[in-house]
């Protein structure tokens, strides 16, 4: 823990709950159970690729209307990414290519990773796949998938009449 976290005067107000270590632990536990119970549809991230190969980090947010998915894909070309949306899942496929010009050079640091990846994210709700759109900027992929009218309609309020 950093010292400044212990100093009340400079302690940052937790910007949002998601930053709190407890929530992050809870989230990790949740995703562990999710990985298990969603069956083998969603390849756990740790198994999604070979050792040391590139696998993108993904954030998924759900709102009433849609799903927003963000993935960090630094160094991947737009044309090398393939996004497939089915009714209740989205697949991101692509390849981070190692620059060929690097071959045969002397390396001092090699921390970046390369390779092809394929990640399937089950959404668990019916989506309107036709209206999905994606953009790619500065190495970050952004996908928005609206929920289907049916899915949105779930939970319609039933008026109660006084008798």
């Amino acid at each position: 823990m950093r010292i400044r976290n212990l100093l009340p005067s400079v302690q940052r107000a937790a910007a949002n709950d998601a930053d709190h270590p407890f929530y992050s632990l809870q989230r990790q536990m949740n995703s562990l159970f999710d990985d298990f119970f969603t069956g083998f549809d969603a390849t756990p991230r740790s198994l999604a690729s070979g050792v040391g190969a590139f696998s993108p980090s993904i954030d998924v947010k759900e709102s009433d209307k849609d799903f927003v998915i963000r993935a960090e894909l630094p160094g991947v070309e737009e044309k090398d990414i393939e996004v497939t949306v089915t009714n209740d899942a989205v697949a991101i496929k692509g390849e981070k290519k190692e620059e060929k010009e690097d071959k045969g050079k002397n390396y001092y640091y090699m921390e970046r990773s390369y390779g092809s990846f394929n990640r399937v994210i089950p959404l668990g709700t019916e989506t309107d796949a036709d209206k999905a759109h994606a953009s790619f900027k500065n190495g970050v992929l952004n996908i928005t998938i609206p929920k289907s009218a049916q899915a949105k309609a779930k939970g319609t309020k039933v008026p109660i009449k006084a008798t």
Partner: protein, 130 residues
């Protein structure tokens, strides 16, 4: 174990900053050929406007800011990465020709070319037949 490896490394030595965000150490590749040294850093989310390269004496600092990284509305279902700035410091030797450093950013990858100074380039010595 591996999952941990894939995640961003938080920069714990970062000094107190004005912006209320975390700082990460970008992953880099450094390699050389006979003319130059190359530094390639993965910094997803930065562009040429938000990346900052500073060379003070022989200390090279690369830094990047990520704006609007968070998805604003909705509940988080999966979260595999955190949003934050990038910063990493390198020490250069005198063998770099500082005036000719070239930097480019593309698809969230920063690429620096650090040309070697003339005096340290390998030279072939012609042998004269005596």
């Amino acid at each position: 174990m591996m999952e941990k490896e894939m995640q961003k490394t938080e920069n714990v030595s970062a000094t107190e900053r004005i912006r209320n965000v975390k700082t990460f150490v970008p992953r880099v590749d450094i390699y050389e050929d006979k003319d130059s040294l190359f530094l390639v850093a993965d910094m997803p989310g930065v562009d040429e406007k938000t990346v900052d390269i500073e060379l003070e004496k022989n200390v090279l600092t690369i830094a990047g800011r990520v704006e609007n990284g968070r998805i604003k509305d909705g509940t988080l279902m999966y979260s595999e990465y955190e949003i934050g700035d990038y910063e990493r410091v390198f020490t250069l030797s005198d063998e770099i020709d500082r005036d000719k450093i070239v930097a480019t950013v593309k698809n969230g990858v920063l690429r620096l070319e650090l040309p070697k100074a003339e005096k340290v380039k390998p030279k072939k010595i012609a042998i004269k037949a005596a």
